[in-house]
């Protein structure tokens, strides 16, 4: 049936020529590059701003008179909050594709390894390390995930909040992946205690520095401080230190070929989230009006959280001497983390 309500019997592009019949791009925002990307088209300006198009201002307020989103939800300042675009260009489709691919990869690895009886061959000491320390670690990832979930409520633009939201989603996925991984290999290993991880997280002195840092990030009331502390400080100094320079590298040397692929997705997650974070903070430290104030603020955050990180890392040190085979020393691992951290903070001129 033709389109009865159309004067030209069709509803298709090109069926008639008239003013703007060829206006096929969103024309209310400036793309970052020459042409708007798909990510920009589905993201930019969905969260309105009284300074852009919201001519009636926010129409519901909190009891203190503030509207749904306010600039002072962070101490950082920007002359243009709308400039940020996430380098990972994530929107729903790419997010599900990536998350889903990781989930099926991990499940495949675990199922195959179990099929060939790999967990049963684990060195006993190593199995204990997995229960204890990887078991504790899952709570750190979860803490970051919930903290970022909180943070995605506050950002001044859709771009900032969606990047925070996907970061949260990645962290929560990882914490669940580790949880289920441990529970599943635990089915194959005699005497496995799946509760040991949480006990360790709560009580073992080794982990208290890390827990204190995670709780400090969760307890922050500044969403950008949470984002900064997570990706600029915690991840290079503790996250990569533990995941890469301990779990991934030491596992292989102790006959464990499963753990590395299970947690290595986290490193790729982090590369993306780090790129997003650096772009955002780079804009803020080079802001035409607020660069100096922002730098001072971020240096304060850096001091606060790197002190916590140092304490956390020192706490973790004994873990490196626990396995039978010790391919990496703690001091080498820490030196690598320090180098990485210096590179990241260097990019931001901090």
């Amino acid at each position: 049936m033709p389109a009865t309500s159309s004067s030209v019997g069709s509803g298709a592009a090109g069926a008639a020529v008239f003013a703007d019949s060829d206006s096929r791009k969103y024309r209310y925002f400036d793309p970052r590059g020459k042409r708007a990307t798909h990510y920009e088209d589905v993201t930019v300006d969905v969260q309105p701003d009284p300074e852009r198009y919201l001519i009636q201002d926010w129409i519901i307020s909190f009891p203190n008179g503030e509207g749904a989103y306010v600039k002072n939800a962070t101490e950082a300042q920007s002359s243009n909050w709308h400039a940020f675009r996430a380098p990972d260009q994530e929107w729903e489709r790419t997010h599900y594709q990536r998350q889903s691919k990781i989930e099926s990869l991990i499940q495949g690895v675990i199922a195959n390894a179990r099929k060939f009886g790999v967990p049963k061959t684990f060195d006993k000491t190593w199995a204990k390390i997995l229960q204890t320390h990887l078991g504790a670690w899952k709570h750190a990832e979860f803490g970051l995930g919930t903290s970022l979930m909180q943070a995605q409520r506050y950002g001044y633009t859709q771009m900032i909040n969606n990047a925070t939201l996907t970061n949260s989603s990645y962290k929560l996925r990882l914490s669940q992946d580790i949880t289920l991984y441990l529970a599943e290999i635990g089915l194959e290993i005699d005497g496995w205690n799946d509760d040991l991880g949480k006990q360790t997280w709560l009580d073992d002195p080794i982990w208290q520095g890390t827990r204190e840092m995670i709780e400090s990030i969760m307890g922050s009331e500044d969403y950008l401080e949470q984002y900064f502390a997570t990706n600029i400080v915690f991840e290079p100094l503790i996250g990569e230190l533990f995941r890469s320079s301990f779990m991934i590298q030491v596992a292989a040397a102790n006959g464990d070929s499963i753990t590395p692929p299970v947690i290595s997705a986290a490193e790729a997650d982090y590369e993306r989230n780090l790129a997003n974070t650096i772009d955002l903070f780079h804009l803020l430290v080079t802001d035409e009006e607020h660069a100096a104030a922002n730098k001072k603020l971020f240096k304060g955050w850096l001091d606060k959280f790197s002190a916590l990180a140092e304490k956390a890392a020192n706490g973790l040190q004994p873990i490196w001497s626990q396995p039978h085979s010790k391919p990496v020393s703690f001091s080498d691992a820490q030196a690598r983390a320090a180098e990485r951290f210096a590179k990241i903070t260097g990019e931001l001129g901090l």
């Binding site: 049936m1 009865t4 004067s7 298709a12 003013a19 703007d20 979930m149």
Partner: protein, 556 residues
Amino acid sequence: MANTLTLNKITSQRGISVGEAAKKIADLGWNPSYVQEAMTYPTDYVIKKTPKDPMKQVLRSYFPMEEEKDNRVYGALDAALRGDMFRNVEPRWIEWMKLFLAIIPFPEISAARSMAMVARLTPGEELRTGFTMQMVDEFRHSTIQMNLKKWYMENYIDPAGFDITEEAFGKCYATTIGRQFGEGFLTGDAITAASIYLTIVAETAFTNTLFVAMPSEAARNGDYALPTVFLSVQSDESRHIGNGHSMLMSMLKEPENHQLLERDMKYAFWQNHAIVDAAIGTFIEYGTTNRDKEKESYAEMWHRWIFEDYYRTYMLPLEKYGVKIHHDDVHEAWKRITEKMYVHTVAQFFAVGWPVNFWRIEAQTDKDFEWFEHKYPGWYAKFGDFWKWYEKLSYPGQKVVTFNEEVGYVYPHRCWSCLVPCLIREDMVVDEIDGKLHTFAHENDRWTAVEAFADEYQGRPTPAMGRFSGKREWETLYHGVDLADAIVDLNFVRSDGKTLIPQPHLRFDDKDMWTLDDVRGHTLLSPLTILREMSDEDREAHLADYRAGFTINPCN
């Protein structure tokens, strides 16, 4: 032996059960002892009982499930293009999608944001997983809808209006109604907003009309894309409804919540009705070319979904927990939708204001009249002449309907609460807030703004409750401004600098299109500003007049 040995049995592994997996994941949380989480979005509710997670889903199965849903959606969009869907799609329908899809991605993403608010207020960790998935779902909904809109813009005959969509959302006199809806999800008392208004009422009661009724009507108008996207969106809702119900059960446990619950159920039900029925009712009844008398009208669907399913099976049982339910409001909403012709007065209002819209509205004609009269007896006497006038005045050179006194329409006051105008004239009420006069569409709207959104409720302090704020009456922004200048300021002009984006017809030809010159010379006025400036006596007379209604003059 050989008979029972299957490949599945050889390769299958003992796994952990779904319940066990959910339990382990809920155990990821702990009570912080070094630094406490800040309670940044306060509520006046007390929630002590840990809500249960009814869905028990984990991200490992969630992500692949959603990706598979996405694959079906994007596959169907590709297929629609290959099948030349747009050649047969009804512009009458797609034009309304310019309004609908300008609005809906914001409420969706607001729902994602609001998950942060409830997650922090909820004791225990069980439901945290549910909130997490809802957060990611709502991110899905917002961007998948933006994608659909972009796709319409790229493929539909008239992309104007789609191309300025998020700008238009912030400016238009109709989208303001949708902003009230979306801001309601994330501003004010966190539980009122994110649990009651969003989840327990909007999602549980009204998403069927949004995401199920709309797709059916879309399909009847040759649009197979919207059903694909929105049925997929709706398939996530059962999880959200589960989250809401679980929270509700926890709230009910504390008797001190009951008074607030009664307040919020009343507010949320009434305002969802006022907003969602105005918008979706109009899209479905006026955006269609299908006049099959066998199909259900919006009113009939409302009765089935809202009255029977929601009111009878969800709201009524709350009484056994001691929460007062406002039966009268449900009956009154039903009366507004049927006898008082609520949806029809909204469509009429949108049509009258066409020059400050950003989509096209074409006239309803004879073939539509019969269906309306059949489904809504008495419709023709009330609206027949109006739509004849509208058709007659749809040609450039005519005096624009908004200002044409020959028609007899009286531009309405705006409701300070739901932001839909006071269209059922006899129900309009006024009241003061902080010494300032406001207009309301109904006593329930007055109650919402004056009594519910306040710092105390029935003598009980409610320090977390939100306030209605901003320049809520859109008309005040352009009081005393020439219509043409207002349209330029709104940026609802095509890129030739003169042709209007909105048009009162579906004639796709420059010679039929209205330009700024065709609408110049009429001054927009704010009914509220004028009302406030009147003497008490004049105001009383004006209000009596307003409530008496108007008559559309015969159109020959």
